[in-house]
C-alpha cells in the first residue's frame, strides 16, 4: 500500500513536471531562430532568417491545446523532437550521449560523499568532545556554504592549471584504448569534478548523522546495551548507527536534486560533457526541445531514485507500511 501510494504520487509529480515543462517556453520572449542568427554574429547570408524558420518549423499556427496534445503524444512515443542547437540531431541522441557521464559523476560523488560523510558523522558523535570531532562538523558545514562553481574554479586553477596534476577538461583522454586504460582515464578525469561535489555536499551527511546518532545514543536501548557491558564499537556499529542511518536514507534521495544542481555548475567549469552543460547550452540557445527533454530527464531520474529509496526504506523499516 505504501509503495502504491508513493508510486501514484510520483506519477502525479511527473505529470506536473511535464505540464510545467510544456508551458514554460511559451511564456518567454524571443525565438530560437533569433538566437541562432545572433550567435552567428551576422555571418549568415541574407536568406538565413527565412531558411532557419523553415528548418526549425517555427511559426506553425496551432492552438496551445493542440500543441500540448502533440507534445504529450510525442512524449509517449519517446519522440523528444530535434535539438535546435545540434540541429538536426534528435534530442534523444544528445541526451543519450550526455546522460551517462552525469549519472556516473553524480553517482560517484554522491556515494563517496554519503559514505565518507556518514562515517565522519559517526566519528563526530561517537568521539564527541574530542577536538577533531568538534571541528570536523563545523569545517564541513562552512564548506557546504561555499558556492560550488567557485570551489570548482579554484580547484581547476590550482590542481589543473598551476600544478598540472589533473586534466582541465573532458571526461576521458584522447584515443584511449583498452578497458583498464579507459577506466583509469575516466577516473582521472572525474577526480576534480567529483571532489568538488563531495567537499561541498559532505557536510550535510556528516552533521545529519552526528545529530541523529547523538539522539540515538541517548535512547534507552543503547544505554541498556552500554550497561550490559557491550563494547562501544559494537554498540555504535550494530545498534546506534544503523538506526541513525534510516533518516539519512530518505535524505539521500532528497539531496539528489541538490546534487544535480551543483553538478550542473561543476560540469560547466570542468567542461565535463554531461547533461548539466547541455542544459546550460539549451538555455542559452533557447533550444526548447532539448531544454524540455533535459528537465524531464532530470525530474524522471530524481523520481526514480526516490522510488528506489522508498523500496529500500520499506524493507529496512517495516513500520512505514502502516504510514
Amino acid at each position: 500500500m505504501f509503495l502504491v501510494k508513493r508510486a501514484s504520487f510520483y506519477l502525479l509529480t511527473f505529470w506536473a513536471a511535464i505540464t510545467l515543462n510544456f508551458f514554460l517556453p511559451h511564456l518567454m520572449p524571443g525565438s530560437a531562430v533569433g538566437a541562432v542568427m545572433a550567435r552567428a554574429h551576422g555571418e549568415m547570408g541574407p536568406g538565413a532568417l527565412h531558411a532557419l524558420e523553415l528548418a526549425f518549423g517555427v511559426n506553425v499556427h496551432q492552438t496551445l491545446l493542440q500543441q500540448y496534445g502533440i507534445y504529450l503524444s510525442h512524449l509517449a512515443h519517446g519522440n523528444l523532437g530535434i535539438s535546435f542547437t545540434y540541429f538536426p540531431e534528435p534530442v534523444s541522441q544528445v541526451i543519450a550521449s550526455t546522460l551517462p557521464w552525469t549519472l556516473f559523476l553524480i553517482g560517484l560523488a554522491t556515494i563517496i560523499s554519503f559514505v565518507v560523510g556518514n562515517l565522519l558523522g559517526i566519528y563526530a558523535a561517537w568521539r564527541r568532545g574530542r577536538p577533531l570531532a568538534s571541528v570536523l562538523p563545523i569545517a564541513f558545514t562552512v564548506m557546504a556554504a561555499m558556492p560550488y562553481f567557485w570551489v570548482a574554479l579554484i580547484f581547476l586553477y590550482v590542481f589543473g592549471f598551476l600544478t598540472g596534476w589533473f586534466p582541465i577538461t573532458h571526461s576521458i583522454g584522447t584515443e584511449v584504448t583498452g578497458i583498464f586504460h579507459r577506466f583509469g582515464s575516466i577516473m582521472y578525469h572525474a577526480t576534480l569534478p567529483a571532489l568538488t561535489i563531495v567537499i561541498t555536499s559532505m557536510g550535510g551527511w556528516m552533521v545529519g548523522m552526528r545529530n541523529n546518532l547523538v539522539s540515538v545514543l541517548s535512547e534507552d536501548y543503547v544505554i541498556l546495551a552500554e550497561m550490559k557491558g557491550l563494547p562501544e564499537r559494537e554498540i555504535v556499529a550494530n545498534y546506534a548507527a544503523r538506526n541513525a542511518l534510516l533518516p539519512a536514507i530518505t535524505g539521500f534521495a532528497m539531496s539528489l536534486g541538490f546534487v544535480v544542481g551543483g553538478a550542473l555548475l561543476t560540469e560547466i567549469v570542468f567542461s565535463y560533457p554531461g547533461i548539466g552543460y547541455a542544459l546550460y547550452q539549451a538555455v542559452t540557445n533557447q533550444d526548447y526541445p532539448l531544454m524540455q527533454a533535459i528537465f524531464l530527464i532530470i525530474v524522471t531520474a530524481v523520481l526514480i531514485a526516490n522510488f528506489l529509496v522508498d523500496l529500500l526504506y520499506s524493507r529496512l523499516d517495516p513500520r512505514v507500511s502502516n504510514d
Binding site: 520572449p29 545572433a38 554574429h41 536568406g47 530535434i82 538536426p88 550521449s97 577538461t169 573532458h170 560547466i268
Partner: protein, 551 residues
C-alpha cells in the same frame, strides 16, 4: 551558401601559397613540409560535439569542422576582395551579366573514390531549390536555372544582374549527388561525411572529433598534417588553459589579455594576430523622435569616445572605426576627400553645442529637454551573453549622460535582443553589421530598403529602417556592372551618404584575435608573409593545407 565567410578577409596573395610554405619551412624548421604529425584546433567553444556533419545544418556547432571535409567552389580571402579558385577553376559572365559559366577543376575526387563533376554542382544547387530551408543565402531568389554542359562546365542563369551573387554562390559546399540524392538535407545528420576536402572523418566522440588526412586530395602532396584533433570546449577559459599548456595549437577565441595568458608562456612559439571583419555599429531607430534628427545622431557620434570603447570593452583588438562603413582593411576603396569626411571625432563640447543649436535645452535637473520640451531619454538594449556589447553599452550610456542625455539600459537574452533589434522595437543598440569582400557588401544591406521591413516585421540588415531612393539607384548601378571603376564610384557615393546622413553610427572595426603555436607546427601566415587570414573558424583549409609538423 550555408556558411558565409564574409568576415574572413586578409591580405591576398595569389602566388604566395607556394612561397609561404617554402619560406617559413626553410626558415623556422629543420624539416621541411612532409606528411605526418598532428594539430589540435579549437575554433571556439561549442560544448560537446553532436554527430552532425551535414554542411547545410543551420546550427553553428560543427561549422569549423565541416569546412575541412566539404569544399566550396571558391575560397574567399583578402581585404581587397580577392579570392582563390578552388573546386571551380575559372568562371565568366555573359548575356549582360545574367549567365555565369563555371569551369570545374579536373581530377577532383570525393573520399569514396568518385569523381567530382558538374552533376554534383547541379545536384547541390537544385537541392537548395527543393529545400529552401538549406538555402541560407537565398540563392534561388536570384537564380532561374542551373545546367551542366559536359562533366566540367556549369551554366547558371540569374534573373537580373547582381554583382554579389558570385560571392554568395561560391561559398556553397559541394556534396556528392550519389550519396545525397535520397536524403532530406534539412534533417539528414550525415554522420559519415564524404567530401572532396583535405581531411576526412576518422572518429567521432562528443568530446573529440578526429580527422585524418585525405591521401587522394587534389592538391598533390597535401595536406601535410596526418591528424587533426577537434577537442570540444565549453568555455573560452578552458581553451586559454589548453593553449597555455600547449595541448591546443590553434584557436580563434576572444580573451582579454592574451599577451599575459598565452603569449608570455613562451613568446618564441606562442603567437596572436587578428582577423578583421566588419563593424560594430550603434544602431539608431530612425522611426523615433528625436533620434530621426540628423543633428542628434551627429551629437551622439561626437559624444562617443571610441578609443575607450576599443581599449576597455574589446581589449584593444577592435579599433575605432570611421563613420562611412569602410573597414580599416578596405581603405583602398576610399578617397582622400572621403577619409576626411568620414573621420570620427570625440568632442563632447561640440556635441553639446550641436544639440543646443538644434533647440535642445537643459532642464531643471541639468539633463536635456527635446525642442518639444520633453526629457530626452534613450533606451539602450543589449544581450547579456555578448559581454563586450554589454560593456560598450554601459560606456556609451555614461558618455551620453555626460552631454545631458538620459539613458536606460535593458540587458536581455540573445534571442530577445535580436528580435527587438530586427523588429525595430528598440531605440538604440550596439550590434554588428553585414560585411563582405568590399564595402558595398556592408553599405548596401545597411541602407537599402530591400533589406528593411515594416516596424514589427524582422528586417535582415537595415534594422534602423533607413530609406533613401538614391541608395537603390546606386545598388542597381553596381549590380549592372562588373567594372571596378563603376563599383568604386558607387561605393564612394554610398559611403558619403553613410558618413553625412549617419543612418547608423560606426563605432569599431571588428577584429577578433587568433591564437597559434609554432612549437611543433610550421607554415603559419605571419606578419611578413600574411598569405591568408589566420582564423581557425569555418574550415580554415587554405592555412591548414600549408601547415606541417616541425619534426
Amino acid at each position: 551558401m550555408s556558411k558565409n565567410r564574409s568576415w574572413m578577409w586578409a591580405v591576398p596573395a595569389a602566388s604566395a601559397l607556394f612561397l609561404a610554405a617554402m619560406g617559413s619551412g626553410a626558415f623556422a624548421a629543420p624539416v621541411g613540409p612532409h606528411v605526418g604529425g598532428s594539430i589540435s584546433i579549437v575554433a571556439s567553444p561549442h560544448g560537446p560535439w553532436a554527430d552532425v556533419f551535414n554542411p547545410f545544418a543551420p546550427g553553428e556547432t560543427q561549422d569549423d569542422i565541416v569546412g575541412d571535409i566539404y569544399e566550396p567552389l571558391v575560397e574567399w580571402n583578402g581585404s581587397t576582395g580577392a579570392h582563390k579558385a578552388w573546386l571551380a577553376q575559372s568562371w565568366a559572365w555573359s548575356n549582360s551579366n545574367k549567365v555565369l559559366t563555371l569551369h570545374l577543376r579536373h581530377g577532383v575526387k570525393f573520399t569514396n573514390g568518385q569523381l567530382f563533376t558538374s552533376a554534383d554542382v547541379v545536384f547541390t544547387l537544385d537541392m537548395m531549390k527543393k529545400y529552401p530551408a538549406i538555402d541560407t543565402s537565398a540563392l534561388w531568389s536570384y537564380m532561374t536555372s542551373v545546367k551542366a554542359e559536359g562533366p566540367y562546365t556549369v551554366k547558371i542563369t540569374i534573373n537580373k544582374p547582381d554583382a554579389t551573387f558570385l560571392y554568395y554562390l561560391t561559398g556553397t559546399y559541394m556534396v556528392p549527388a550519389s550519396l545525397w540524392k535520397n536524403k532530406n538535407p534539412v534533417l539528414w545528420t550525415d554522420p559519415n561525411p564524404v567530401g572532396t576536402g583535405p581531411y576526412q572523418l576518422k572518429s567521432f566522440s562528443p568530446q573529440n572529433i578526429i580527422l585524418k588526412r585525405n591521401p587522394h586530395y587534389w592538391q598533390k602532396g597535401k595536406p601535410y598534417l596526418q591528424t587533426v584533433y577537434y577537442p570540444s570546449a565549453t568555455s573560452n577559459g578552458s581553451v586559454i588553459l589548453g593553449l597555455a599548456d600547449g595541448s591546443i595549437q590553434w584557436s580563434s577565441i576572444y580573451s582579454p589579455d592574451l599577451r599575459n595568458s598565452f603569449v608570455s608562456k613562451d613568446p618564441s612559439t606562442n603567437h596572436t594576430d587578428v582577423s578583421s571583419g566588419g563593424y560594430d555599429w550603434l544602431y539608431v531607430n530612425l522611426h523615433q523622435y528625436p533620434l530621426n534628427l540628423l543633428p542628434v545622431r551627429r551629437a551622439i557620434s561626437d559624444a562617443i569616445n571610441r578609443k575607450a570603447l576599443s581599449v576597455i570593452s574589446e581589449s584593444g583588438y577592435s579599433t575605432p572605426s570611421r563613420l562611412d562603413g569602410i573597414d580599416a582593411a578596405q581603405s583602398s576603396w576610399s578617397t582622400p576627400a572621403l577619409n576626411k569626411k568620414a573621420a570620427a571625432v570625440y568632442n563632447p563640447k561640440l556635441a553639446e553645442s550641436i544639440l543646443a543649436k538644434a533647440g535642445f535645452k537643459r532642464g531643471p535637473n541639468g539633463m536635456l529637454l527635446t525642442p518639444k520640451g520633453k526629457p530626452f531619454t534613450v533606451n539602450l538594449v543589449t544581450a547579456s551573453s555578448f559581454t563586450d556589447f554589454v560593456s560598450m553599452t554601459s560606456q556609451i550610456s555614461s558618455m551620453l549622460h555626460a552631454i545631458g542625455i538620459n539613458t536606460n539600459i535593458t540587458v536581455t537574452s540573445v534571442s530577445n535582443y535580436s528580435n527587438k533589434m530586427e523588429d525595430g522595437s528598440f531605440s538604440m543598440g550596439v550590434m554588428w553589421g553585414a560585411s563582405g569582400p568590399n564595402p558595398f557588401y556592408t553599405l548596401n544591406p545597411l541602407m537599402n530598403t530591400e533589406y528593411s521591413a515594416a516596424l514589427g516585421q524582422p528586417a535582415p540588415d537595415n534594422i534602423e529602417r533607413y530609406s533613401n531612393p538614391r541608395v537603390q539607384q546606386l545598388a542597381n548601378e553596381y549590380d549592372a556592372s562588373t567594372s571596378v571603376a563603376v563599383h568604386k564610384s558607387v561605393i564612394d557615393q554610398m559611403a558619403n551618404i553613410m558618413a553625412t546622413q549617419l543612418p547608423i553610427i560606426g563605432l569599431l572595426n571588428r577584429n577578433s584575435p587568433n591564437e597559434y603555436s609554432s612549437a611543433t607546427i610550421a607554415g603559419w601566415p605571419t606578419a611578413s608573409n600574411p598569405y591568408w587570414d589566420n582564423s581557425a573558424d569555418v574550415g580554415p583549409i587554405v592555412v591548414l593545407t600549408q601547415l606541417y609538423a616541425k619534426k
